[in-house]
């Protein structure tokens, strides 16, 4: 079963672009000055760095291997990441803010004002639990 050259180039380009975005995300995590900005760069890995490689793998599984189980599992991995990634990112961002991680020189910080204004409400909610 010989693979056609066009298909091979398409798969290589997709996975190569995924490698580029993953590289940009890794460089961002190493270089960014602030923990929230590092989080934004990690989203870079988790979206296109992951999905372009998975789409390339999906094309390979459908047109080269012709195996339905492989394609279904790869699509399922993509769906898992689409659902769970924003939930995890939101949870860790909220924990980082509430813990008082130093974030450098925010231009606007609406959340700080909101916390001061809403302190009694949140305390009441914690007591309720």
């Amino acid at each position: 079963m010989e693979i056609s050259m066009t298909l091979r180039v398409i798969i290589d380009v997709l996975i190569g672009l995924g490698v580029f975005f993953a590289f940009a995300g890794v460089v961002g995590i190493i270089r960014m000055p602030d923990c929230f900005c590092r989080m934004q760069s990690s989203t870079n890995i988790a979206t296109l760095g992951l999905f372009l490689a998975l789409i390339g793998g999906l094309v390979y599984a459908i047109f080269v291997e012709r195996n339905a189980a492989t394609a279904a599992k790869i699509a399922f991995i993509a769906v898992i990441y689409i659902i769970q990634n924003p939930a995890g990112g939101h949870a860790i961002a909220k924990a980082a803010y509430n813990r008082g991680n130093e974030h450098l020189k925010s231009v606007v910080d609406d959340l700080a004002n909101a916390d001061e204004a809403e302190q009694p409400a949140t305390l009441a909610k914690e007591g309720d639990e």
Binding site: G16, A22, I45, L50, A53, E65, A69, N85, A95, A96
Partner: protein, 87 residues
Amino acid sequence: MTQMPELYYFAAIYVALALILIFRLVKGPSVVDRAVAADSMEILTDVALVLVALASGRGIFLDIAVVTAMLGFVGVVLVARYLEGAL
């Protein structure tokens, strides 16, 4: 039977990127940085697993990739809940 041997090289690049992140995992000033770096490492190794499974034609790596994808989320939420003091 490998029809596209370059998939192995792409998987090697992803693993190398994950190894670079060990720097942030060791140095990271706060727990949140370490958690984010660990989550990103998990995603990169997951992609490498998928690529190796396709290149070698063994389906067992794909099952491992599915389970890894779900466990990484549990780890991140665990760290977040612990930092919030709700655990």
